[in-house]
Structures are given as structure tokens and as C-alpha cells.
């Protein structure tokens, strides 16, 4: 009995030691090897502060990597670590900042936070497997950047507008007040739903108008899910959330100008819309293999 327990403990210790010495490869991005050879990156601390960010080139592609200890990044340990918001915050911010630095210097295919390979062989295997697709994506995102636009709407402004534009609502309300109590409840519910739907249609129409204009000077777009109020913690509603891929320079300037004009107009006319744009981001949403075939430009 004692002997088996002792054996078990020994085994556990070996596993822990194995993990301590093991190194994994954290991958940030891919870039064309010829760009990587023209400019060096040295002395940049990686996601593991004890290791530097390095290039790993295989034929025409270069991976931007950092060696990381398995004690932090092996699947189970990593899973536990990301539960810790502070740990996640520091690493995600580092990932983001390093990606911005890379994006300033190179054409990059940015990867999602937490893309890890077991060893160099596995990384190289993947690089040769996806070589053609990566090359196509790199060509697509060259000299481009990503911008996110969120449009928030003031429900009060929009409900007022809906009530003004739908005179029949007033009449309907009067009609309902003359019904029996039981019937009133359902009729009122139905009317409320109608008003909510109208508000939604109205805000969507407005946002779509802005979106269609932006599409004229963007190369790709991905409409994202609107966040609920419990997520944003705001009083107004998120009515539009979309990322656009745009050529650096004129396109981005036109986008910024357009958003500014719409914002100004909304304030002057009390339209109840608030525009928030963030960028430039590396083309995170468009360095996606699935994006290759379906362009959202419809």
C-alpha cells in the first residue's frame, strides 16, 4: 500500500518536471519571408517575458513566434490561466501591441490570441500545408487595415420618431382602452411589439445607409453581432457592429470623414445616433481562410 503510493508520487513528480522543461511555440503572425529578411526585430520581449520574439522562416513564409513554457501554456494550464482576467488582460494586450508593431512594418496575417504549437516540426508542417492559402491572404491584406464601427441608438429618440410617423398607433391605443380588461392585455402586448419592431427597422435602415456608403471604399466587411445592453453596460442600444477592411490612406480618410459627417448631422438633427470607430487594426477579421471565397460585398 505504502509502496504504491510512493510510486504514484514519483510518477507525478516526473510529469511535473517534464512540463517544467518543456517549451511550446506561441505564434503571433505570418509574413512574407522577403519582408522579414529586410528588417530585423530584436530585443522585443515576448508573451513569456523570459523569451524574445523571433522569426522562424520556412521557404517563402516567416512565422513570428515566441517560446513559451508548458507550465503556463500547456492546454490544461492555459485554460486555468485565461480564467484569471488579470493574466488574460496582460497577455492579450501584449498580443495586440506586438501585432500593431508588426503591422506598422510588415504585411501580416495576424493570428487569434493563443495559437500554440507543440514544436518546430508541427509549426513547419502547418506552414507548408497552408502555404498557398496564406500567400493569397497576405496579398489580399497588403497595405490594408481594419476599422471597427459601432453605432449606438437612443431608444427614446427613435420611439418618438416611430410614434410621430405612425399616426395609427395613437388611434389603436384609444381603441384598446375601450376593450375588455382581458383583451386589453393581449392587444397592448401586440401593439408594444409592433412599436419595438418599427424602432428596430428604423435604426437598421439608418445604419444600413451608412454601411452601404462605407462599402464603396472598403475592400471587405464583416457584420458582427450587436451586443446586448447587459454586455455594453450602456443606456443606449448597440444597433450596428461591423469591421471593414480598407486600403491605408485615402480610403481610411474617406471613412473617417463620412463617420464624422454622420455624427455631426445626427447631433444637429437630434437623430439619436452615436458613432464609435476604432482602428487601425491589423486585418484580424480578414486573415481568415473562410473569407477567401465569400466576400460580403452584396
Amino acid at each position: 500500500m505504502i509502496l504504491t503510493r510512493h510510486k504514484c508520487m514519483q510518477k507525478e513528480r516526473i510529469q511535473l518536471n517534464e512540463l517544467e522543461n518543456e517549451e511550446l511555440i506561441y505564434v503571433y503572425a505570418f509574413l512574407p519571408a522577403q519582408e522579414a529578411s529586410s528588417e530585423k526585430i530584436t530585443g522585443i520581449k515576448g508573451i513569456d517575458p523570459n523569451n524574445e520574439v523571433k522569426f522562424h522562416t520556412r521557404t517563402e513564409l516567416t512565422a513570428v513566434i515566441c517560446k513559451v513554457p508548458a507550465t503556463d501554456f500547456a492546454e490544461e494550464n492555459f485554460k486555468q490561466n485565461v480564467e484569471n482576467i488579470k493574466w488574460l488582460q496582460q497577455r492579450a494586450s501584449h498580443h495586440h501591441e506586438l501585432m500593431n508593431t508588426l503591422h506598422d512594418k510588415f504585411t501580416i496575417l495576424p493570428l487569434k490570441f493563443g495559437t500554440i504549437y507543440e514544436n518546430e516540426e508541427r509549426l513547419e508542417q502547418m506552414m507548408s500545408e497552408y502555404y498557398e492559402q496564406m500567400k493569397t491572404i497576405l496579398e489580399e491584406v497588403q497595405d490594408k487595415e481594419e476599422w471597427n464601427l459601432k453605432i449606438y441608438s437612443d431608444p427614446q429618440v427613435f420611439s418618438k420618431k416611430v410614434l410621430e410617423e405612425n399616426r395609427e398607433i395613437e388611434a389603436k391605443k384609444k381603441e384598446i382602452s375601450e376593450l375588455s380588461k382581458g383583451k386589453q392585455f393581449f392587444a397592448r402586448k401586440k401593439l408594444d411589439q409592433f412599436i419595438t419592431d418599427q424602432i428596430k427597422a428604423e435604426t437598421e435602415k439608418k445604419c444600413k445607409e451608412v454601411h452601404d456608403k462605407i462599402l464603396k471604399f472598403s475592400q471587405n466587411a464583416e457584420v458582427k453581432k450587436n451586443w446586448e445592453q447587459k454586455v455594453t453596460g450602456r443606456d443606449d442600444e448597440m444597433s450596428w457592429n461591423c469591421v471593414y477592411l480598407m486600403e491605408t490612406g485615402e480610403n481610411v480618410e474617406a471613412f473617417t470623414r463620412l463617420v464624422e459627417e454622420y455624427q455631426k448631422h445626427s447631433v444637429e438633427e437630434n437623430e439619436g445616433l452615436l458613432f464609435e470607430s476604432t482602428g487601425p487594426w491589423p486585418a484580424y477579421h480578414f486573415a481568415n481562410f473562410k473569407c477567401l471565397t465569400n466576400s460580403v460585398k452584396s
Binding site: 505564434v27 500593431n100 495559437t115 500554440i116 508541427r122 471597427n148 463617420v259 464609435e276 470607430s277 481568415n288
Partner: protein, 109 residues
Amino acid sequence: MDNQSIKQSTASNGLVDILETVLDKGVVIAGDIQVNIADVELLTIKIRLMVASVDKAKEIGMDWWETDPHYSSKGLRIQEIQEENEELHNRIKQLEENSANPNNNESST
């Protein structure tokens, strides 16, 4: 007017914006290690609650951990001072008693 300024951030994007971008996107290439942290919405709520609760706690004076030695070094220092204070009080009391005693002795003789 605040409404007229459009929020545009670059290097200093807010944490939620960063998480939305670096976590919440389609899979590009699967790594060998799979950790799914795609639920940015839940994460956002968590972050907001965390921030809100710290501020709120301070507001209503519930910042006890700042003085609790278990949670903060400031608390540890306060505890040390308190102990030192207590010791000094005892010492003074003792000295006062000692200096009062000779008088007692004198009056008794």
C-alpha cells in the same frame, strides 16, 4: 460637445475592444493547443462587474481589504503600527505606575 467627438483609438484601445478583436474572430489556423475563449460577451460582463464592484466598494467604504494584512502590504503596515502603539501604551502605563509607586511608598512611611 462630447457627442461630436468620435472615439478613435489606436495603440491604447480599451481592453474590451482588444478582447473583441484578438479573441472573437473566425478560426484562422488551428493550433495544437485548443483553448476556447470565444465568449467575449461573458468576459465583458465579468470585467465590467469586476471594475464596478471595486469602485462601488470604495464608494460605500467597503474597501476593508486595503487595511487587511492578508490582502495588502499597506494593511500589514497598519497592523504593525497598531501593535507598536499598543505596546507603547502598555509601556507608558507601566512607567506611570512605577513613578506613582515611590509616592505611595513615601506616604505610607
